[in-house]
């Protein structure tokens, strides 16, 4: 399994990762209790780093740290004065979603999808679970489609309650938003035409990635994603250039039209792209660690504890992973060990055939 393979990449890399992320680690997480308190200056620049490619790491110091709420309130019965109660009073959850990521967040092609069903995908189902936990109705959601470069902004500016958009949890971003625990671990890969046999990513003995067969070529990715930062260093070392597009589909069009030779981002998203176009394939090894989490506004005026809603969401995510029965956005089969496994089977395995294995990966929850 690809995700497990990333996890096996090595303990030595984790040590290097700790060194690399030391700057993040020393900066305190934002714990503002009121939005009028400005967030602290980030310890690291938000601009893409430059320099040599770094070894692939398998952990992060900046994963969501809020503990899961315990005990969880019963669905539809939110504690008075809580953010969840304010959302319940409003009548619907406002969620920022991707509309461009097949099998993760994309418009429902049905002609009359019904209220709260206008988008589909893994991320969308996570939001349905969150909505069910608040309202006892999974469809009480209003989706706000956001672009890749406005995901953080939609949360930071308080336009939405939560963003579920394959967001990689990393240290610089914790100055813009709060993160849940990671609910799926991805890794950056390279997508190329199926008949291409020359382009591939390999890891050397120090787990440093190298892109082969792409010298002088072009790789497309989306601006303001972590994919850009990973590719920038590789591009310099391996002699290719990075083309930035506005969203995933624009990259796919460029690849299909032959304007770029490869497309790179998280393998979760690339899996969806591969499902859209079966004449593409992932080439070589994964070369980054991308834990995905839900993003929340930094502080909330309706809560005395700004992490309360996040703890609640973490409780929902843990419930998805647990073996207990309960609400699940997708039908569970007897072979599904959890609701999370049912979501994974529905959206990821289906999308990424024939790359799948029979083993459902275990999400690596922090906290």
């Amino acid at each position: 399994m690809r995700i497990n393979r990333v996890m096996r990449i090595g303990g030595a890399a984790a040590v290097l990762a700790a060194v690399l992320l030391a700057g993040c680690g020393t900066a305190p997480l934002v714990t503002a209790t009121n939005v009028t308190i400005p967030a602290p200056e980030p310890a690291t620049s938000l601009a893409p780093p430059s320099g040599s490619p770094a070894p692939v790491v398998t952990s992060s110091d900046c994963l969501g740290s809020a503990p899961a709420m315990s005990p969880m309130p019963r669905p539809g019965h939110m504690p008075a004065g809580s953010t969840m109660a304010a959302i319940k009073k409003r009548g619907y959850l406002i969620a920022g979603v991707d509309q461009d990521s097949y099998d993760w967040g994309y418009p429902n092609p049905s002609l009359s999808p019904g209220p709260g069903r206008s988008y589909l995908g893994f991320d969308i189902d996570v939001l349905h679970a969150l909505a069910y936990a608040i309202f006892r109705n999974a469809d009480d959601i209003h989706f706000v489609p956001v672009t890749q470069d406005f995901r953080m902004g939609a949360a930071n500016q308080g336009i939405v309650d939560v963003v579920a958009d394959s967001i990689t949890i990393n240290c610089p971003r914790t100055y813009q938003v709060h993160f849940s625990i990671d609910y799926i671990n991805a890794a950056q890969e390279l997508l190329v035409p199926r008949d291409n046999t020359t382009i591939a990513v390999t890891l050397d003995s120090r787990n440093v990635p190298h892109v082969n067969g792409l010298a002088g070529g072009k790789v497309c990715t989306v601006g303001t994603t972590t994919s850009v930062q990973n590719l920038t260093a590789l591009a310099k070392a391996d002699g290719f250039s990075v083309v930035l597009a506005g969203n995933w589909s624009d990259c796919l069009v460029l690849l299909q039209q032959g304007d770029v030779q490869a497309f790179s981002t998280d393998d979760t998203i690339l899996g969806g792209i591969e499902a859209e176009d079966p004449y593409l394939k992932l080439a070589g090894d994964p070369f980054s660690y991308e834990p995905h989490g839900l993003a929340f506004p930094l502080a909330d005026p309706y809560s005395t504890k700004d992490t309360e809603f996040i703890s609640f969401a973490n409780g929902v995510l843990l419930a998805l992973e647990s073996h207990t029965s309960g609400y699940c956005p997708e039908p569970r089969l007897s072979s599904d060990t959890s609701c999370w496994a049912a979501l994974y089977r529905t959206w990821v395995i289906t999308a990424q055939l024939p790359r799948t294995t029979s083993q459902v990966p275990t999400p690596l929850f922090a906290g």
Binding site: V35, P42, Q99, H142, M152, I159, Y175, S249, E276
Partner: protein
Amino acid sequence: MGLAVLAAWTVHQRDTALQNATAAGQRLDIGGLDDRLYQDLIAMQQAEVALFQGRVDAAAQGTRLTDPYADLGLVDSDLAALKAQFGTSVRVQRDISLISGEMTSYFSTEAIAQDDNRQGLPVGAAYLRDASRYLTDDTLQTADDIRKVDEDQVSADDSAAAAVPWPLLAVAAISLACLVGVQILTARYTRTQFDPWLLLGTAATVIVVVWSVIALSVSLHEVGSDTSPHAVAAHALAQALVADVQDHNDDLLTLADHGEDCYASTSRNAPYVYTVKCRFETQVVDSLTALKGQLRADLALASADALDRPVRAQIGIASAAATSWLAAEDALPTLQNLAVAAKAKQEPAGSYPRYDPPFEKVLAPYTGPDTDSGTEVTNFSGLFQRAVNTAIEHEWASYDRQAGSASGALTGAVTGAVLLGLLAAATGGLGIALRVAEYWSAGRRPV
């Protein structure tokens, strides 16, 4: 006689130029061939966008949507008609071939977009954007080139009709000099001091010249002062109409795209400031903004050249519609507007806007099935289009009227010049013959 023929030919050339200009103007007029081609191309794109939004086959939509292939048929027939009319223009033939070829690429891209969209694949939206970019950047530019050929034709014909007839004036001067010279010679070599026939011929020649010059001057004045400004204003209005249909198309794409054409930039340090710019929305707003916008600039140009009060009134209506249209852009559910509204809500109280009921109303069209948000901009665009259409029709009608008047005057001048020329030739010839006969019959006066 030669002078009369030259005068008639000169006047006839100008008459022909005016008729050619009128014919080109008719192609440029609303409903004319050039206009039809442009409108049919835009209608085709709008049908594609509507189809994309409908997410279904055209057939399933009944009469609610137009099948883009029906528009393609119209485009093909427009191209065939243009091909027939511009048989000799290499530039237009090249443009027509280009558009025909581009239609293949455009429709194959649109077919991918619609097919992906029907399957629920997000990449369909990217192909829709790609097809739209192709149509705007390539095909519409080529169609615009055909329009420019006609606009250039009108300008060139207007210039030809209004040019000073130097060859005619030169030949007239030579002819008069010859006649005066003959008078002097006959007075010197015969007993007759004044030959009445020759004097009559000279007078007729003077009248031919004066007649022609007056007719041409009237024509020059009518073309320069009364006719050409209508064409110039009509050109500017046509450009405004082009800007209008492109802006409206961008509005439709904005709504269909749901923000996928937007780019956000973030300040480097906290507190973070997010600036969102959506490509299609920015294009519309820029175009509609006074001073810098293309649509506004075209309208101002048309207003400066418009001679008639009804046209100025229509331009006023169009200008007001553009102002309202610009205001309505703020209400469109785009990320750009949403970010601005959120920031405005956030700033006064420092609280998050999503609990604010008025902001939820702003958010509603963005989150739910949205059928109404495009209505307002569509209405203002329609109002603008109707006003400009009326103004263009009026301008070309005025142009035709003025050009017809100038042409009528010139036709009359041709007849008069020919008749007077015959008279001058006959009387001049008779006078000269009599004096030659007198000279050879010994009536010769000693030098």
